[in-house]
């Protein structure tokens, strides 16, 4: 068994579970943290798949810029999502 597939499976499971948490979470700040962990897992996956170009653009955008934009917008609006 190729050992890379095992790590890919673990990281992909972490990413999927945290994507689910980020979608269903009411408090927006917690959702941002979950999506940061999800992007970490996907960055490790992309690195294991030998795609350093994508990792180099994925990490600054998903860990640096995207939470910043979300925090800016949460600060301008409400911090809790209303009842559906």
């Amino acid at each position: 068994m190729d050992i890379t597939v095992l790590f890919l499976a673990i990281m992909g499971t972490i990413g999927l579970v945290f994507a689910y948490f980020a979608v269903t979470e009411r408090a927006l700040v917690k959702a941002i943290i979950y999506s940061a962990v999800q992007s970490m897992a996907f960055a490790v996956m992309l690195y294991l798949l030998r795609a350093p170009d994508i990792v180099l653009v994925y990490i600054p955008v998903s860990v640096g810029l995207y939470p910043a934009a979300l925090f800016f917008l949460v600060g301008k609006t409400e911090s809790e999502e209303g009842e559906p």
């Binding site: 945290f18 943290i33 962990v37 970490m40 490790v44 690195y47 350093p52 180099l56 800016f72």
Partner: protein, 89 residues
């Protein structure tokens, strides 16, 4: 040389898994941010070990980028806590 590195890769993956449970459970929001931060640093070590095993020069710079931006989440969150809006003084 490769077998000890693979074993340590397993241990690091286990600690990332344990940390993600803390990210979900952590009683306060600060615990979540702290454990997410530690998970980012730990995954940077995973990247470094994989780069050593593969031995490809081109992929080494990814570790620097992940380490550089792991602490940005802390700063955004603490500024949000203290001021409410990130552009304020």
């Amino acid at each position: 040389m490769t077998i000890p590195l693979v074993i340590s890769l397993f241990i690091y993956t286990v600690s990332v898994l344990l940390l993600t449970y803390i990210v979900v459970r952590g009683p306060t929001v600060s615990d979540k941010v702290l454990s997410a931060d530690v998970a980012l640093y730990t995954s940077s070590v995973i990247l470094a070990i994989t780069g050593i095993i593969i031995g490809s020069e081109a992929m080494a710079i990814c570790t620097i980028i992940l380490v550089l931006w792991a602490y940005a989440l802390d700063l955004y969150f603490s500024k949000y806590l203290e001021r409410g809006e990130l552009g304020e003084q």
